[in-house]
Protein backbone atom coordinates (compact mmCIF):
# COMPACT_ATOMS: atom_id res chain seq x y z
CA UNK A 1 0.00 0.00 0.00
CA UNK A 2 1.48 3.30 -1.01
CA UNK A 3 1.59 5.64 1.97
CA UNK A 4 0.50 8.58 -0.10
CA UNK A 5 -2.44 6.76 -1.68
CA UNK A 6 -5.67 8.75 -1.28
CA UNK A 7 -8.41 7.48 1.02
CA UNK A 8 -10.57 6.79 -2.01
CA UNK A 9 -9.67 6.89 -5.68
CA UNK A 10 -12.15 6.14 -8.44
CA UNK A 11 -11.01 6.10 -12.03
CA UNK A 12 -13.08 5.80 -15.14
CA UNK A 13 -15.85 3.87 -13.44
CA UNK A 14 -18.90 2.90 -15.48
CA UNK A 15 -21.85 0.75 -14.53
CA UNK A 16 -25.04 -0.27 -16.26
CA UNK A 17 -28.12 -2.21 -15.25
CA UNK A 18 -28.98 -3.99 -18.45
CA UNK A 19 -29.14 -1.34 -21.14
CA UNK A 20 -29.50 1.51 -18.66
CA UNK A 21 -26.20 3.21 -17.97
CA UNK A 22 -26.17 4.49 -14.41
CA UNK A 23 -22.56 5.61 -14.10
CA UNK A 24 -20.52 6.86 -17.00
CA UNK A 25 -16.73 7.15 -16.72
CA UNK A 26 -16.80 8.54 -13.18
CA UNK A 27 -13.49 9.62 -11.67
CA UNK A 28 -13.05 11.23 -8.29
CA UNK A 29 -10.85 11.06 -5.27
CA UNK A 30 -11.11 11.72 -1.56
CA UNK A 31 -7.89 12.67 0.24
CA UNK A 32 -7.02 11.81 3.80
CA UNK A 33 -8.79 14.22 6.13
CA UNK A 34 -10.89 15.58 3.27
CA UNK A 35 -14.60 16.28 3.62
CA UNK A 36 -15.89 15.69 0.10
CA UNK A 37 -19.51 16.33 -0.74
CA UNK A 38 -20.99 14.32 -3.58
CA UNK A 39 -23.81 16.51 -4.82
CA UNK A 40 -26.48 15.15 -7.06
CA UNK A 41 -30.21 15.03 -7.54
CA UNK A 42 -32.12 11.86 -6.79
CA UNK A 43 -31.31 9.30 -9.45
CA UNK A 44 -27.92 10.84 -10.25
CA UNK A 45 -26.21 7.53 -9.52
CA UNK A 46 -24.99 8.23 -5.98
CA UNK A 47 -26.40 5.08 -4.41
CA UNK A 48 -25.04 2.87 -7.20
CA UNK A 49 -21.65 4.50 -6.73
CA UNK A 50 -21.80 3.64 -3.01
CA UNK A 51 -22.80 0.07 -3.74
CA UNK A 52 -19.79 -0.29 -6.04
CA UNK A 53 -17.36 1.29 -3.55
CA UNK A 54 -18.61 -1.02 -0.80
CA UNK A 55 -18.46 -4.02 -3.17
CA UNK A 56 -22.11 -4.90 -2.78
CA UNK A 57 -21.64 -5.53 -6.45
CA UNK A 58 -18.77 -5.15 -8.84
CA UNK A 59 -18.37 -2.99 -11.86
CA UNK A 60 -16.91 -4.42 -15.01
CA UNK A 61 -15.02 -1.33 -16.01
CA UNK A 62 -13.02 1.22 -14.08
CA UNK A 63 -11.03 1.13 -10.88
CA UNK A 64 -11.90 1.73 -7.24
CA UNK A 65 -9.17 1.76 -4.65
CA UNK A 66 -9.26 2.48 -0.95
CA UNK A 67 -5.90 3.54 0.48
CA UNK A 68 -4.33 1.86 -2.53
CA UNK A 69 -6.29 -1.40 -2.14
CA UNK A 70 -8.16 -2.36 -5.28
CA UNK A 71 -11.71 -3.26 -4.23
CA UNK A 72 -11.77 -6.16 -6.69
CA UNK A 73 -8.42 -7.68 -5.83
CA UNK A 74 -8.01 -6.75 -2.18
CA UNK A 75 -11.58 -6.45 -1.02
CA UNK A 76 -10.88 -7.47 2.55
CA UNK A 77 -8.16 -4.89 3.09
CA UNK A 78 -10.28 -2.21 1.45
CA UNK A 79 -13.43 -3.01 3.45
CA UNK A 80 -11.50 -3.10 6.71
CA UNK A 81 -10.64 0.59 6.52
CA UNK A 82 -14.11 1.67 5.46
CA UNK A 83 -17.07 2.80 7.56
CA UNK A 84 -20.45 3.17 5.88
CA UNK A 85 -23.77 4.81 6.65
CA UNK A 86 -26.30 3.70 4.06
CA UNK A 87 -29.23 5.75 2.87
CA UNK A 88 -31.77 3.32 4.31
CA UNK A 89 -31.45 2.48 7.96
CA UNK A 90 -29.82 -0.89 8.48
CA UNK A 91 -30.29 -1.22 12.23
CA UNK A 92 -32.18 -4.10 13.82
CA UNK A 93 -35.08 -2.30 15.45
CA UNK A 94 -35.81 -5.08 17.91
CA UNK A 95 -32.28 -5.23 19.24
CA UNK A 96 -30.76 -2.77 21.67
CA UNK A 97 -28.28 -0.11 20.60
CA UNK A 98 -25.34 -2.04 21.96
CA UNK A 99 -26.51 -5.36 20.53
CA UNK A 100 -26.54 -3.73 17.12
CA UNK A 101 -23.07 -2.35 17.65
CA UNK A 102 -21.67 -5.60 19.06
CA UNK A 103 -22.93 -7.35 15.95
CA UNK A 104 -21.10 -4.88 13.75
CA UNK A 105 -17.93 -5.25 15.84
CA UNK A 106 -18.11 -9.04 15.46
CA UNK A 107 -18.43 -8.62 11.71
CA UNK A 108 -15.08 -6.87 11.89
CA UNK A 109 -13.58 -9.61 14.06
CA UNK A 110 -13.26 -7.38 17.14
CA UNK A 111 -12.98 -9.04 20.53
CA UNK A 112 -15.89 -8.36 22.84
CA UNK A 113 -13.85 -6.49 25.43
CA UNK A 114 -12.35 -4.16 22.87
CA UNK A 115 -15.73 -3.78 21.19
CA UNK A 116 -17.39 -2.85 24.49
CA UNK A 117 -14.84 -0.11 25.06
CA UNK A 118 -15.20 1.28 21.53
CA UNK A 119 -19.00 1.13 21.72
CA UNK A 120 -18.90 3.11 24.95
CA UNK A 121 -16.67 5.77 23.37
CA UNK A 122 -18.62 6.15 20.17
CA UNK A 123 -22.04 6.20 21.81
CA UNK A 124 -20.78 8.81 24.26
CA UNK A 125 -19.60 10.96 21.37
CA UNK A 126 -23.07 10.98 19.84
CA UNK A 127 -24.70 11.52 23.23
CA UNK A 128 -26.45 8.14 23.48
CA UNK A 129 -24.27 6.26 25.98
CA UNK A 130 -27.02 6.32 28.58
CA UNK A 131 -29.43 4.57 26.24
CA UNK A 132 -27.21 1.72 25.13
CA UNK A 133 -29.54 -0.91 26.57
CA UNK A 134 -32.69 0.44 24.96
CA UNK A 135 -34.18 -0.97 21.80
CA UNK A 136 -33.52 0.95 18.61
CA UNK A 137 -37.26 1.01 17.95
CA UNK A 138 -37.85 3.59 20.69
CA UNK A 139 -35.34 6.05 19.24
CA UNK A 140 -36.24 8.99 17.00
CA UNK A 141 -35.05 9.14 13.37
CA UNK A 142 -32.24 11.52 14.29
CA UNK A 143 -31.08 9.32 17.15
CA UNK A 144 -31.07 6.24 14.94
CA UNK A 145 -28.86 8.06 12.47
CA UNK A 146 -26.46 8.89 15.27
CA UNK A 147 -26.34 5.22 16.24
CA UNK A 148 -25.55 4.34 12.63
CA UNK A 149 -22.77 6.87 12.59
CA UNK A 150 -21.38 5.47 15.85
CA UNK A 151 -21.60 2.00 14.38
CA UNK A 152 -19.74 2.97 11.22
CA UNK A 153 -16.87 4.22 13.38
CA UNK A 154 -16.57 1.31 15.87
CA UNK A 155 -13.75 -0.39 13.96
CA UNK A 156 -11.77 2.85 13.54
CA UNK A 157 -12.09 3.25 9.78
CA UNK A 158 -9.99 5.82 7.91
CA UNK A 159 -12.60 6.39 5.21
CA UNK A 160 -16.22 7.15 6.00
CA UNK A 161 -18.94 6.94 3.37
CA UNK A 162 -22.35 8.44 4.02
CA UNK A 163 -25.20 8.13 1.54
CA UNK A 164 -27.78 10.87 2.10
CA UNK A 165 -27.37 10.57 5.87
CA UNK A 166 -29.60 13.52 6.73
CA UNK A 167 -32.69 12.65 4.72
CA UNK A 168 -35.80 13.04 6.83
CA UNK A 169 -33.98 14.60 9.79
CA UNK A 170 -34.82 17.85 11.51
CA UNK A 171 -32.44 20.81 11.37
CA UNK A 172 -30.85 20.13 14.76
CA UNK A 173 -30.09 16.50 13.94
CA UNK A 174 -28.71 17.45 10.53
CA UNK A 175 -26.43 20.03 12.02
CA UNK A 176 -25.26 17.62 14.71
CA UNK A 177 -24.29 14.98 12.13
CA UNK A 178 -22.54 17.49 9.88
CA UNK A 179 -20.58 19.03 12.74
CA UNK A 180 -19.67 15.65 14.16
CA UNK A 181 -18.38 14.27 10.88
CA UNK A 182 -16.53 17.45 9.95
CA UNK A 183 -14.94 17.36 13.40
CA UNK A 184 -13.72 13.82 12.74
CA UNK A 185 -12.08 14.93 9.51
CA UNK A 186 -10.02 17.53 11.29
CA UNK A 187 -9.33 15.70 14.52
CA UNK A 188 -8.68 12.21 13.17
CA UNK A 189 -7.77 12.77 9.55
CA UNK A 190 -10.77 10.76 8.44
CA UNK A 191 -11.50 10.92 4.71
CA UNK A 192 -15.23 11.46 4.16
CA UNK A 193 -17.46 11.09 1.14
CA UNK A 194 -20.83 12.62 1.99
CA UNK A 195 -23.50 12.13 -0.67
CA UNK A 196 -26.44 14.50 -0.60
CA UNK A 197 -28.88 16.43 -2.72
CA UNK A 198 -28.98 19.23 -0.14
CA UNK A 199 -26.64 21.90 -1.39
CA UNK A 200 -26.31 23.73 1.92
CA UNK A 201 -24.58 20.69 3.39
CA UNK A 202 -21.48 21.60 1.41
CA UNK A 203 -19.74 23.98 3.83
CA UNK A 204 -17.33 26.72 2.73
CA UNK A 205 -14.28 24.47 3.03
CA UNK A 206 -15.78 21.34 1.49
CA UNK A 207 -14.52 19.75 -1.67
CA UNK A 208 -17.42 19.23 -4.04
CA UNK A 209 -18.14 16.67 -6.73
CA UNK A 210 -21.28 17.23 -8.79
CA UNK A 211 -22.77 14.05 -10.20
CA UNK A 212 -25.58 14.30 -12.71
CA UNK A 213 -27.09 11.52 -14.81
CA UNK A 214 -24.20 9.25 -13.97
CA UNK A 215 -21.44 11.68 -14.91
CA UNK A 216 -19.16 13.92 -12.91
CA UNK A 217 -20.03 17.40 -14.16
CA UNK A 218 -17.74 19.38 -11.89
CA UNK A 219 -15.27 18.75 -9.10
CA UNK A 220 -13.14 20.97 -6.92
CA UNK A 221 -13.16 23.49 -4.10
CA UNK A 222 -16.29 25.53 -3.71
CA UNK A 223 -14.50 28.67 -4.86
CA UNK A 224 -13.25 26.96 -8.02
CA UNK A 225 -16.74 25.82 -8.94
CA UNK A 226 -18.16 29.29 -8.35
CA UNK A 227 -15.39 30.86 -10.42
CA UNK A 228 -15.86 28.40 -13.26
CA UNK A 229 -19.56 29.07 -13.54
CA UNK A 230 -19.40 32.76 -12.73
CA UNK A 231 -22.13 32.37 -10.13
CA UNK A 232 -22.25 33.77 -6.61
CA UNK A 233 -23.98 30.94 -4.80
CA UNK A 234 -23.37 27.22 -4.97
CA UNK A 235 -27.06 26.67 -5.62
CA UNK A 236 -26.92 28.82 -8.76
CA UNK A 237 -23.68 27.16 -9.87
CA UNK A 238 -25.22 23.73 -9.35
CA UNK A 239 -28.33 24.64 -11.34
CA UNK A 240 -26.22 26.01 -14.18
CA UNK A 241 -24.00 22.92 -14.32
CA UNK A 242 -27.03 20.64 -14.37
CA UNK A 243 -28.71 22.72 -17.07
CA UNK A 244 -25.51 22.72 -19.17
CA UNK A 245 -25.25 18.96 -18.74
CA UNK A 246 -28.85 18.49 -19.86
CA UNK A 247 -28.33 20.76 -22.88
CA UNK A 248 -25.19 18.86 -23.85
CA UNK A 249 -26.94 15.56 -23.49
CA UNK A 250 -29.83 16.86 -25.56
CA UNK A 251 -27.31 17.96 -28.23
CA UNK A 252 -25.66 14.53 -28.21
CA UNK A 253 -28.87 12.65 -28.74
CA UNK A 254 -30.44 14.96 -31.34
Amino acid sequence: MALEAPALAIEDLSHAFGARKVLDRVSLSVGRGDFTVLLGLNGAGKTTLFALITRLYLSHSGLISVFGHDIKKEAQAALRCMGVVFQQSTLDLDLTLEENLFYHAALHGMRRKLAAARIGEELARVGLAERRRERVRVLSGGQRRRVELARALIHNPSLLLLDEPTVGLDMASRQFLLDHVRGLCTSQGLGVLWATHLIDEAGPDARIVILHQGRVRAAGERAEILARTGEVTLKAAFDRIIADGAAKRGGETS
Binding site: R55, L56, Q76, L79, M82, L95, H104, A106, L107, G109
Partner: protein
Protein backbone atom coordinates in the same frame (compact mmCIF):
# COMPACT_ATOMS: atom_id res chain seq x y z
CA UNK B 1 -8.00 -12.09 9.51
CA UNK B 2 -6.99 -14.72 12.04
CA UNK B 3 -8.85 -17.94 12.86
CA UNK B 4 -9.94 -16.37 16.17
CA UNK B 5 -11.47 -13.47 14.27
CA UNK B 6 -13.41 -15.87 12.08
CA UNK B 7 -14.74 -17.41 15.28
CA UNK B 8 -15.72 -14.00 16.65
CA UNK B 9 -17.54 -13.17 13.45
CA UNK B 10 -19.40 -16.48 13.40
CA UNK B 11 -20.48 -16.21 17.02
CA UNK B 12 -21.60 -12.62 16.44
CA UNK B 13 -23.82 -13.67 13.55
CA UNK B 14 -25.29 -16.58 15.54
CA UNK B 15 -25.85 -14.38 18.54
CA UNK B 16 -27.72 -11.81 16.50
CA UNK B 17 -29.95 -14.44 14.90
CA UNK B 18 -30.81 -15.85 18.31
CA UNK B 19 -31.52 -12.41 19.78
CA UNK B 20 -33.76 -11.53 16.87
CA UNK B 21 -35.67 -14.76 17.25
CA UNK B 22 -36.16 -14.19 20.97
CA UNK B 23 -37.07 -10.54 20.56
CA UNK B 24 -39.61 -10.95 17.82
CA UNK B 25 -42.35 -12.37 19.98
CA UNK B 26 -44.65 -13.18 17.09
CA UNK B 27 -42.01 -15.14 15.26
CA UNK B 28 -40.94 -16.90 18.44
CA UNK B 29 -44.43 -17.96 19.40
CA UNK B 30 -45.60 -18.93 15.92
CA UNK B 31 -42.46 -21.01 15.41
CA UNK B 32 -43.41 -23.04 18.47
CA UNK B 33 -47.16 -23.08 18.01
CA UNK B 34 -47.24 -24.01 14.30
CA UNK B 35 -45.98 -27.59 14.61
CA UNK B 36 -47.98 -28.09 17.79
CA UNK B 37 -51.16 -27.10 15.97
CA UNK B 38 -50.41 -29.76 13.37
CA UNK B 39 -49.73 -32.28 16.05
CA UNK B 40 -52.66 -31.46 18.28
CA UNK B 41 -55.34 -30.80 15.67
CA UNK B 42 -54.37 -32.29 12.32
CA UNK B 43 -52.93 -35.48 13.72
CA UNK B 44 -55.84 -35.87 16.13
CA UNK B 45 -58.26 -35.56 13.24
CA UNK B 46 -56.46 -38.17 11.18
CA UNK B 47 -55.70 -40.42 14.09
CA UNK B 48 -58.37 -42.91 13.14
CA UNK B 49 -58.38 -42.25 9.42
CA UNK B 50 -54.81 -43.08 8.62
CA UNK B 51 -53.40 -46.29 9.93
CA UNK B 52 -49.68 -46.62 9.57
CA UNK B 53 -48.40 -50.10 9.02
CA UNK B 54 -45.09 -51.30 10.31
CA UNK B 55 -42.44 -49.60 8.21
CA UNK B 56 -38.85 -48.89 9.12
CA UNK B 57 -37.64 -47.40 11.37
CA UNK B 58 -40.71 -48.30 13.44
CA UNK B 59 -40.90 -51.78 14.89
CA UNK B 60 -44.56 -51.80 15.74
CA UNK B 61 -47.81 -50.17 14.71
CA UNK B 62 -47.65 -46.49 15.56
CA UNK B 63 -50.25 -43.81 16.11
CA UNK B 64 -50.41 -41.15 13.41
CA UNK B 65 -48.98 -38.51 15.78
CA UNK B 66 -45.80 -40.52 16.06
CA UNK B 67 -45.60 -40.81 12.30
CA UNK B 68 -45.82 -37.10 11.55
CA UNK B 69 -43.55 -35.88 14.36
CA UNK B 70 -40.31 -36.14 12.29
CA UNK B 71 -42.00 -34.35 9.41
CA UNK B 72 -42.96 -31.55 11.78
CA UNK B 73 -39.36 -31.30 12.94
CA UNK B 74 -38.34 -30.91 9.32
CA UNK B 75 -41.13 -28.38 8.86
CA UNK B 76 -39.74 -26.28 11.71
CA UNK B 77 -36.45 -26.23 9.84
CA UNK B 78 -38.06 -25.50 6.50
CA UNK B 79 -39.99 -22.53 7.90
CA UNK B 80 -36.93 -21.32 9.68
CA UNK B 81 -34.72 -21.63 6.63
CA UNK B 82 -37.20 -19.77 4.48
CA UNK B 83 -37.92 -17.14 7.07
CA UNK B 84 -34.38 -16.21 8.02
CA UNK B 85 -33.15 -16.25 4.44
CA UNK B 86 -36.10 -14.80 2.63
CA UNK B 87 -36.38 -12.00 5.11
CA UNK B 88 -33.34 -10.67 3.29
CA UNK B 89 -35.50 -9.96 0.31
CA UNK B 90 -37.51 -7.31 2.04
CA UNK B 91 -36.39 -3.74 2.06
CA UNK B 92 -35.43 -3.24 5.60
CA UNK B 93 -33.90 -6.68 5.66
CA UNK B 94 -31.99 -5.92 2.52
CA UNK B 95 -30.39 -3.31 4.72
CA UNK B 96 -29.27 -5.89 7.22
CA UNK B 97 -27.86 -7.92 4.36
CA UNK B 98 -25.78 -4.89 3.40
CA UNK B 99 -24.37 -4.69 6.91
CA UNK B 100 -23.32 -8.30 6.60
CA UNK B 101 -21.91 -7.99 3.09
CA UNK B 102 -19.63 -5.03 3.82
CA UNK B 103 -17.88 -7.00 6.52
CA UNK B 104 -14.27 -7.62 5.50
CA UNK B 105 -14.64 -11.40 5.79
CA UNK B 106 -14.97 -13.37 2.57
CA UNK B 107 -18.47 -13.53 1.28
CA UNK B 108 -18.70 -17.33 1.29
CA UNK B 109 -17.85 -17.29 4.97
CA UNK B 110 -20.48 -14.66 5.74
CA UNK B 111 -23.15 -16.67 3.93
CA UNK B 112 -22.07 -19.81 5.75
CA UNK B 113 -22.20 -17.99 9.09
CA UNK B 114 -25.68 -16.73 8.29
CA UNK B 115 -26.70 -20.25 7.35
CA UNK B 116 -25.27 -21.79 10.51
CA UNK B 117 -26.94 -19.14 12.65
CA UNK B 118 -30.32 -20.09 11.18
CA UNK B 119 -29.61 -23.77 11.80
CA UNK B 120 -28.71 -23.17 15.44
CA UNK B 121 -32.00 -21.37 16.00
CA UNK B 122 -33.96 -24.07 14.20
CA UNK B 123 -32.36 -26.81 16.29
CA UNK B 124 -33.28 -25.07 19.52
CA UNK B 125 -36.86 -24.89 18.25
CA UNK B 126 -36.78 -28.55 17.24
CA UNK B 127 -35.73 -29.66 20.72
CA UNK B 128 -38.38 -27.49 22.37
CA UNK B 129 -40.92 -29.14 20.09
CA UNK B 130 -39.62 -32.60 20.99
CA UNK B 131 -39.90 -31.77 24.67
CA UNK B 132 -43.54 -30.71 24.28
CA UNK B 133 -44.33 -33.59 21.91
CA UNK B 134 -43.33 -36.00 24.66
CA UNK B 135 -46.71 -35.23 26.22
CA UNK B 136 -48.35 -36.59 23.05
CA UNK B 137 -46.59 -39.85 23.68
CA UNK B 138 -43.97 -39.20 21.08
CA UNK B 139 -41.27 -40.90 23.03
CA UNK B 140 -38.30 -41.89 20.92
CA UNK B 141 -35.43 -43.74 22.61
CA UNK B 142 -33.00 -41.61 24.61
CA UNK B 143 -30.28 -42.35 22.04
CA UNK B 144 -32.58 -40.94 19.37
CA UNK B 145 -32.54 -37.51 21.01
CA UNK B 146 -28.77 -37.47 20.59
CA UNK B 147 -28.65 -39.12 17.18
CA UNK B 148 -31.16 -36.65 15.76
CA UNK B 149 -28.78 -33.74 16.37
CA UNK B 150 -26.46 -34.36 13.39
CA UNK B 151 -29.52 -35.11 11.26
CA UNK B 152 -31.03 -31.76 12.25
CA UNK B 153 -27.75 -30.01 11.48
CA UNK B 154 -27.55 -31.54 8.02
CA UNK B 155 -31.23 -31.09 7.17
CA UNK B 156 -31.21 -27.54 8.60
CA UNK B 157 -28.17 -26.56 6.54
CA UNK B 158 -29.76 -27.94 3.39
CA UNK B 159 -33.11 -26.21 3.91
CA UNK B 160 -31.42 -22.97 5.00
CA UNK B 161 -29.21 -23.07 1.90
CA UNK B 162 -32.33 -23.51 -0.20
CA UNK B 163 -33.72 -20.37 1.43
CA UNK B 164 -30.51 -18.50 0.60
CA UNK B 165 -30.73 -19.60 -3.02
CA UNK B 166 -34.33 -18.42 -3.25
CA UNK B 167 -33.49 -15.12 -1.61
CA UNK B 168 -30.75 -14.45 -4.13
CA UNK B 169 -32.63 -15.57 -7.22
CA UNK B 170 -36.25 -14.69 -6.70
CA UNK B 171 -37.01 -11.06 -7.13
CA UNK B 172 -40.70 -10.87 -6.76
CA UNK B 173 -41.52 -12.61 -3.56
CA UNK B 174 -43.61 -9.82 -2.20
CA UNK B 175 -44.38 -11.45 1.07
CA UNK B 176 -44.16 -14.61 3.01
CA UNK B 177 -47.52 -15.82 1.75
CA UNK B 178 -45.99 -16.27 -1.70
CA UNK B 179 -43.28 -18.46 -0.27
CA UNK B 180 -45.86 -20.41 1.68
CA UNK B 181 -47.89 -21.12 -1.42
CA UNK B 182 -45.12 -21.84 -3.87
CA UNK B 183 -42.37 -23.33 -1.77
CA UNK B 184 -43.34 -24.47 1.70
CA UNK B 185 -46.70 -26.09 1.03
CA UNK B 186 -45.74 -27.93 -2.17
CA UNK B 187 -42.58 -29.22 -0.53
CA UNK B 188 -44.41 -30.24 2.61
CA UNK B 189 -47.30 -31.99 0.88
CA UNK B 190 -45.28 -33.83 -1.76
CA UNK B 191 -43.11 -35.45 0.84
CA UNK B 192 -43.19 -38.31 3.28
CA UNK B 193 -43.92 -35.91 6.14
CA UNK B 194 -47.67 -36.52 6.32
CA UNK B 195 -48.09 -39.96 4.74
CA UNK B 196 -45.80 -42.85 3.90
CA UNK B 197 -44.72 -42.82 0.27
CA UNK B 198 -45.97 -46.34 -0.49
CA UNK B 199 -49.45 -45.01 0.06
CA UNK B 200 -48.77 -42.12 -2.30
CA UNK B 201 -47.46 -44.55 -4.93
CA UNK B 202 -50.78 -46.36 -4.93
CA UNK B 203 -52.68 -43.14 -5.48
CA UNK B 204 -50.47 -41.32 -7.98
CA UNK B 205 -47.14 -42.45 -9.44
CA UNK B 206 -46.35 -38.89 -10.53
CA UNK B 207 -46.69 -37.48 -7.07
CA UNK B 208 -44.76 -40.45 -5.76
CA UNK B 209 -41.79 -39.63 -7.97
CA UNK B 210 -42.04 -35.94 -7.17
CA UNK B 211 -41.91 -36.92 -3.52
CA UNK B 212 -38.92 -39.14 -4.13
CA UNK B 213 -36.87 -36.30 -5.60
CA UNK B 214 -38.15 -33.74 -3.11
CA UNK B 215 -35.26 -32.76 -0.81
CA UNK B 216 -37.77 -32.29 1.98
CA UNK B 217 -38.71 -35.98 1.86
CA UNK B 218 -35.12 -36.94 2.50
CA UNK B 219 -34.71 -34.36 5.23
CA UNK B 220 -37.77 -35.87 6.89
CA UNK B 221 -36.58 -39.46 6.49
CA UNK B 222 -33.10 -38.62 7.72
CA UNK B 223 -34.64 -37.10 10.85
CA UNK B 224 -37.18 -39.93 11.23
CA UNK B 225 -34.53 -42.65 11.22
CA UNK B 226 -32.14 -40.67 13.42
CA UNK B 227 -34.87 -40.14 15.98
CA UNK B 228 -35.02 -43.92 16.35
CA UNK B 229 -31.25 -44.13 16.50
CA UNK B 230 -30.82 -45.40 12.97
CA UNK B 231 -29.05 -44.02 9.95
CA UNK B 232 -30.85 -43.68 6.64
CA UNK B 233 -27.74 -43.56 4.49
CA UNK B 234 -29.52 -42.91 1.21
CA UNK B 235 -31.38 -39.90 2.62
CA UNK B 236 -28.19 -38.64 4.27
CA UNK B 237 -26.38 -38.78 0.93
CA UNK B 238 -29.21 -37.14 -0.95
CA UNK B 239 -29.54 -34.34 1.62
CA UNK B 240 -25.78 -33.79 1.45
CA UNK B 241 -25.95 -33.68 -2.34
CA UNK B 242 -28.70 -31.08 -2.30
CA UNK B 243 -26.76 -29.11 0.32
CA UNK B 244 -23.70 -28.93 -1.91
CA UNK B 245 -25.79 -27.83 -4.89
CA UNK B 246 -27.70 -25.19 -2.91
CA UNK B 247 -24.57 -23.76 -1.27
CA UNK B 248 -22.91 -23.53 -4.65
CA UNK B 249 -25.94 -21.74 -6.12
CA UNK B 250 -26.20 -19.39 -3.13
CA UNK B 251 -22.54 -18.36 -3.33
CA UNK B 252 -22.99 -17.86 -7.06
CA UNK B 253 -26.18 -15.88 -6.49
CA UNK B 254 -24.50 -13.56 -4.01
CA UNK B 255 -21.33 -13.17 -6.03
CA UNK B 256 -20.87 -9.42 -6.45
CA UNK B 257 -19.51 -9.85 -9.97
CA UNK B 258 -22.35 -11.84 -11.43
CA UNK B 259 -24.54 -9.99 -9.01
CA UNK B 260 -28.10 -11.11 -8.65
CA UNK B 261 -28.14 -8.47 -5.94
CA UNK B 262 -26.94 -6.12 -8.65
CA UNK B 263 -29.67 -7.17 -11.02
CA UNK B 264 -32.26 -6.70 -8.35
CA UNK B 265 -30.87 -3.26 -7.54
CA UNK B 266 -31.16 -2.40 -11.19
CA UNK B 267 -34.79 -3.31 -11.15
CA UNK B 268 -35.56 -0.87 -8.36
Amino acid sequence: MTAAQYGICLSGVVRREALRWLNQRGRFISALVRPLVWLAIFAAGFHFVLGVSIIPPYETYIPYEVYIAPGLLAMIQLFNGMQSSLSMVYDREMGSMKTLMISPFPRWFLLLAKLLAGVVVSIVQAYIFLAIAWFWEIEPPIGGYVAVLPALVLAGLMLGALGLVLSSFIRQLENFAGVMNFVIFPMFFTSSALYPLWRVAEASPVIYWLSEINPFTHATELIRFALYDRLNLLSALIVTGYLVVFVFLAVWGYDPGRGLIARRAGAE
